[in-house]
């Protein structure tokens, strides 16, 4: 050993290296718990299946469709929904409470890297496994519910970009909520209110098209639909190319807004950090 300064990587190369390494680490971790991950995924399917059964029943009672959405289209919507939901699972305020209480966030703050990068990389790595595990479930749902789905290559390409956009938007939103934990260790209470708004305004509970017009107007000014409804619609909505690309633009806009707010709030929040529990 010698005291010669260590060679440092170029910042851009280093950031790519970090993301690859952190994602790889998370993939390895997920391999350790593949059975648990699978059971978690199976449990997660319960929510869309309930929605799907309810809407299928209503559609059949109304002559095969609800406001122009057929039984097969409902099936397509909620099967794609499960994949989008897989992608936009991120660190929740419950997780924030845990990591602050257990002192894990202190370790994150000591790193020469904004902690959001670690969260993004960690969950992104996990998704690589979850999506692979999810594919047989999606095949099973397809066999059972017979979705009406025909897609173009452009739609598939936009979908693959949009699900990562959805992931980043929801990461920013829940980071903003999570940072409430710097002021109170019970930030999860606010999360419950957030979930209610998200259910109604994102297309998570029902396709936005079925919501009252005023609700759709409100949703247009909020980020929720760009993390749920839009990525689903890229595959099931038969959207023209302009709308597909416009939707990606909206995602970029909300990611930029979210990043800015996270940056501002994080600076204010860290000064409040009391490093409790460690």
């Amino acid at each position: 050993m010698s005291a010669v300064p260590l060679a440092r990587q170029h910042p851009v190369r280093a950031m790519v290296d970090f993301y690859v390494t952190a994602m790889r680490t998370q993939v390895q971790t997920q391999f350790q718990y593949r059975a648990a991950a699978y059971m978690y995924l199976v449990g997660m399917v319960a929510e869309p299946v309930i929605y799907l059964v309810v809407w299928t029943t209503i559609a059949k009672q109304q002559g095969g469709e609800v406001q122009g959405i057929t039984v097969g289209q409902f099936a397509a919507y909620y099967i794609v929904w499960t994949l989008v939901r897989n992608m936009n699972i991120v660190f929740t305020p419950y997780g924030w409470e845990w990591r602050i209480r257990e002192g894990q966030f202190s370790a994150a703050l000591l790193r020469p890297l904004h902690p959001i990068h670690y969260d993004i990389a960690e969950f992104a790595g996990g998704k690589l496994i979850w999506v692979v595990l999810y594919l047989p479930i999606a095949a099973g749902l397809t066999l059972i519910f017979d979705p009406d789905l025909s897609v173009t290559p452009l739609e598939v390409c936009v979908f693959f970009v949009a699900i990562w956009g959805a992931y980043l938007i929801r990461t920013m939103l829940l980071w903003l909520l999570g940072m409430v934990t710097f002021w109170t260790t019970r930030g999860s209470a606010i999360f419950e209110t957030y979930i209610m708004a998200e259910l109604l305004l994102s297309g998570r509970l029902v396709p936005l098209k079925l919501m009252p017009e005023w609700t759709q107007s409100v949703a247009d000014f909020l980020p929720f639909q760009w993390a749920f409804y839009f990525p689903i619609q890229t595959l099931v909505g038969d959207l023209p190319a302009g709308e597909l690309l416009g939707g990606l633009g909206m995602q970029v806009l909300w990611i930029a807004v979210g990043s800015f707010l996270v940056w501002i709030c994080f600076r204010a929040s860290v000064s409040k950090y009391s490093a409790v529990g460690n």
Binding site: M1, T21, T25, Q32, S106, P112
Partner: protein, 324 residues
């Protein structure tokens, strides 16, 4: 320039307070009470590059709070701190790349993976070039003799084994300032010694600055020539370890072996221990020479040693005095 420079550093925590019971709980809904706790109270000190300093104090004295302020985890309420010329609370990346905070009771490694994977992740986080990283990692592994451990999942390691790999993980970016908070807590004597010798070697090779808290005086005696004693957030002593005894302990111990082991020596001083023909006496420091001369002239002495009191006793005395 000092590696660590602290001036009037203060941290006040505002903590909620209420009595126990349902009534107090209901009252707290409408009328919240808070109390300001001065965890660190206007402390000042400087540590030169390459120094190893012991930071001593009882639980709740303000040691960990100080370390957290110096590593940028906590914002000071008042005063200033500079570490390697950086203001820690600004948490600049160049600063964070040059320090580490090791907490003896915290795990910062990936629980389910072998420690080697966590080291690799730390390499990427600290932007260390692969070649330098491999060389440094292997040297640290060899120095702490953890070659067999780094391939096991961290969750399968014992507390002591985990602490050793934790230390390697904390140093793969080769920090210049080490804040070590109870690094040997809960470890057996052999493991404590190993970590002590490792810290000493790291300090020697890299001229790294070390600020160490420990409740084990053996750690402090083995590593630190200088100690800072803190109590109730205030510094009680800052100086050489050897001076601590002379400043705070007004007595010396005389251990004497007698031909007549049954002799009563209580008139020479307080008898602390008696074991066969050996007696340990405590005498006022000013009287030590006179009592020694009397013992030698009046008793049949086989062997006699005069010592400062053990450092544990001195520290205990310092805290007891400060609490009064």
């Amino acid at each position: 320039m000092a590696a660590v420079d602290v001036s009037e550093l203060t941290k006040v925590f505002r903590v909620p307070e209420r009595e126990a019971g349902l009534r107090a709980s209901m009252r707290a809904l409408f009328q919240r009470r808070h109390r300001d706790v001065r965890a660190v109270d206007s402390i000042s000190f400087a540590i030169g590059g390459g120094e190893v300093v012991g930071f001593l104090g009882p639980n709740g004295a303000g040691k960990t709070t100080t370390l957290k302020m110096l590593s940028g985890l906590l914002y000071p309420t008042a005063g200033e701190a500079r570490v390697l010329g950086f203001v820690p609370s600004r948490r600049e990346r160049d600063f964070l790349r040059q320090i580490t905070l090791v907490m003896g009771n915290r795990n910062q490694l990936q629980w389910d993976l072998p420690a080697l994977d966590s080291f690799e992740l730390n390499r990427a986080i600290y932007r260390v070039a692969r070649e330098d990283f491999r060389r440094l990692r292997d040297e640290l592994i060899e120095l702490l003799d953890v070659g067999d451990l780094v391939r096991k999942p961290v969750r399968n390691l014992s507390l002591g084994e985990r602490m050793k790999v934790e230390i390697v993980g904390s140093l793969v970016h080769r920090p210049q300032v080490l804040f070590l908070d109870e690094p040997t807590i809960g470890l057996d004597v052999t493991m404590q010694k190993r970590i002590r010798s490792f810290v000493a070697e790291y300090n020697r090779r890299y001229e790294a600055t070390v600020l160490l808290t420990s409740h084990y005086m053996a750690d402090v005696e083995a590593l630190c020539r200088r100690v800072i004693v803190i109590h109730h957030g205030r510094i009680l002593f800052d100086g050489p370890l050897t001076q601590l005894g002379s400043q705070f302990a007004g007595y010396k111990t005389i251990e004497v072996a007698l031909a007549n082991g049954a002799a009563d020596l209580s008139r020479y001083g307080d008898v602390l221990e008696r074991d066969a023909d050996r007696v340990k006496l405590r005498v006022e420091k000013a009287d030590a020479s006179r009592v020694t001369a009397l013992l030698l002239s009046e008793q049949e002495v086989i062997d006699l040693t005069i010592e400062d009191p053990p450092i544990e006793d001195v520290i205990e005395l310092v805290f007891a005095e400060a609490s009064e």
